[in-house]
Amino acid sequence: MEANTYDAIVVGSGISGGWAAKELCEKGLKVLMLERGGPYEHVKDYKSALREPWDLPHRGRTTTEQKKKYPVIHRGWAASEAVMDGWVNEEDCPYTELKPFTWWRSYRMGGRSTLWGRQSYRFSQMDFEANERDGIAVSWPIGYNDIAPWYDHVEKFAGISGSIENIAHLPDGQFLPPMELNCVEKDVAKRIKREYGDKRHLIIGRTANLTALIPGRSKCQFRNRCWEGCPFGGYFSTQSSTLPAAMKTGNLTVRPYSLVRQVIYDKNTKKASGVEVLDTENNQTYEFKSKVVFLCASALNSTWILFNSATDIWPDGLGSSSGELGHNVMDHHYNIGASGIVEGYEDRYIFGKRANGFYIPRFVNIGNDKRDYLRGFGYQGSASREGWGREIAELNIGGDFKDALTEPGQWTIGATAFGEILPYHDNKIALDKERKDKWGLPVLAMDAELKENELKMRKDMQEEMKAMLAIAGIKNVNTWDNGHAMGHGIHEMGTARMGLDPKTSVLNKWNQVWDCLNVYVTDGACMTSSGCQNPSLTYMALTARAVDHAVSELKKINS
């Protein structure tokens, strides 16, 4: 094979990129995986994961210097001493906020696959039909039956623990044994069932933590320190799962520090011939050639690459002929919910740290339930006993105060909602040509916000949880709403949507760019609607499905 030439190029090494590489390699293609950040090796580079918590000089808090260096990350809850190296250098990689937008980025091997929340839910036929039924945006070009076998495929490999529930709008999957609800959660689940029958469910979260052995990996050890990297390989990440599988084939080449500047488009063949890479260490430019390109650089960055590609033909970039490239930004809005105090259970406690909680699947706008807004939301939460930071009645200082704090406090329970955001054409990202990053490249400008449908939904997101907790006998129920800037849900998607018509969508039903069929986009950018379920599992399934298609197309050409 010619130097710098491969069968396939995968841009990005996160959840989608890892899947693309594994599937392509296992089908016998020679694959180049490009990662814009540096290496982050499984186990060896998990610096804090086997250290003791008290070895951290600031015991998990970040420093004033880090707060200045990572202002975006400090807007939320993700700034923690042990994981700061994992977040993007915000000085080197700025972006413009025409409207507030919280963009959580990890530019290193594995992308956000070592920093994800691991909650894994299937979309249902209801979700794939939603746009068509509501007359919103465009229809999904696929239905549940198209993706179901691919959900099976990725779940079996990734290892998703969960319970079989037979809920039509939250399909069951190929689950490892479920984790356990704790004693309080079990009783609250019973009370919710008693009140709402089959209309509402409180179930254990479905999570990509192993509750049974998968070859080459260990079971989840219930340390709840996933974000530091799991030395046991106890949860799905590129490092623990897809990368070793791809490497095993002998077909994978990984190139770090490789920022893809554009897809190289060949006017004559109307296909991509490869990609142009800026080496972020030596600032040299390289070209790599391939028969097929998978863009898995994260929803907004895959779109950024398309903006910068084939601009001599389409000034707004490859895939822009529809007028939809960069539009329809979605996320899940949250930071809203309710919590309260649980009476009793003083003689009950837990063992181990469960990196998971309960899930209450969507129940609004389903069946006879009708609201004054479209779509819905689910809840994620947990019950636990209070720790040493609580108030102790009558004690503020001294030995009795200290001894009281060494025992667990009362049980509390709370949940936050994750709501669907509709795809709005005017929620968009574009290039800010005035502003450049460290390498002189134009940065993204974010221009997206919650609109009336989401704001109406937020009232219910708060009130319904409050009502359910009250029905379950929870006392002192508090609600909160900390507002939601787009992106804060870390589920950004939609900027190169799939559709049935090249005039109104960027990708076809196989995730191919309509205008350049050997370029596939299989990360969050491809989403036509957002559902309210955590979306990574869907990206995995769509990626595996797209690879299967790409390889069969290549075979047709070769035969």
């Binding site: 003791e52 918590p53 008290w54 000089p57 600031h58 015991r59 998990g60 808090r61 970040t62 420093t63 004033t64 210097e65 707060k67 200045k68 202002p71 400090h74 809850w77 923690s80 984790m179 356990e180 609800l181 704790n182 004693c183 959660e185 079990k186 050890q221 219930f222 340390r223 003083e346 003689d347 009950r348 406690y349 837990i350 063992f351 181990g352 740290k353 469960r354 006993r385 209070e386 720790g387 040493w388 930071g389 609580r390 108030e391 503020n396 200082i397 001294g398 030995g399 105060f401 200290k402 001894d403 704090l405 060494t406 025992e407 667990p408 406090g409």
Partner: protein, 190 residues
């Protein structure tokens, strides 16, 4: 425990937001900054002072060693230097003098010369004062004692002694059980 839960809990306990939890810019002149930097280099005696303050808040009991054994004074120094913004750093440093002055006023002795009972009486009074202050302060500056107390709690319970002796620690639990018996007096999981 998740960090955000922790911050919320500490905030609740001390009646306000967690100091150092928010970043903001300061307008210090450079000579003032240099002066502050010098004052932030705490002497061994000042660290002993902080250890004793912390040990009054969380003393050794029959059940576990206190804050001094967990080297909370040194921990406070690191945190104030690295994680506090300049205005709070100043309040913290001035606070040691204020506390010393308050002790002299109440007991006619410096804090380090006072007995354990005298220290407890003093800090019990200041604890009350700081809590009341925090509840109505709004945007006013933080109370120095709130800083001492927050850092004492964090420093103690996140120390090795805190994890292993005050609380129960299991680095690799290996499983989860959601319903196990608990008897009054059993320690909480770290």
């Amino acid at each position: 425990m998740e960090r955000r839960t922790l911050l919320k809990m500490i905030a609740l306990l001390t009646g306000g937001a967690v100091i150092g939890g928010d970043a903001f810019l300061t307008g210090c002149s450079s000579s003032k900054e240099r002066d502050l930097r010098e004052r932030l280099k705490l002497t061994p005696k000042q660290i002993v002072f902080l250890d004793e303050v912390a040990d009054t808040i969380l003393p050794t009991t029959q059940k576990s060693p206190g804050a001094k054994a967990a080297k909370v004074g040194s921990f406070m120094t690191v945190m104030v230097n690295d994680c506090y913004e300049a205005p709070d750093q100043e309040i913290f440093i001035d606070g040691m003098e204020k506390l010393e002055a308050a002790c002299k006023k109440m007991h006619h002795l410096g804090f380090l010369e006072a007995t354990a009972e005298q220290r407890l009486a003093l800090l019990t009074a200041i604890d009350k004062e700081a809590k009341e202050y925090a509840q109505k302060k709004g945007a006013a500056p933080n109370h120095y004692y709130t800083m001492f107390k927050q850092l004492t709690l964090l420093g103690y319970f996140s120390s090795e002694i805190g994890y292993k002796q005050a609380l129960r620690y299991n680095q690799v639990p290996g499983r989860y059980e959601g319903d196990v018996p608990y008897e009054k007096g059993d320690k909480a999981w770290a």
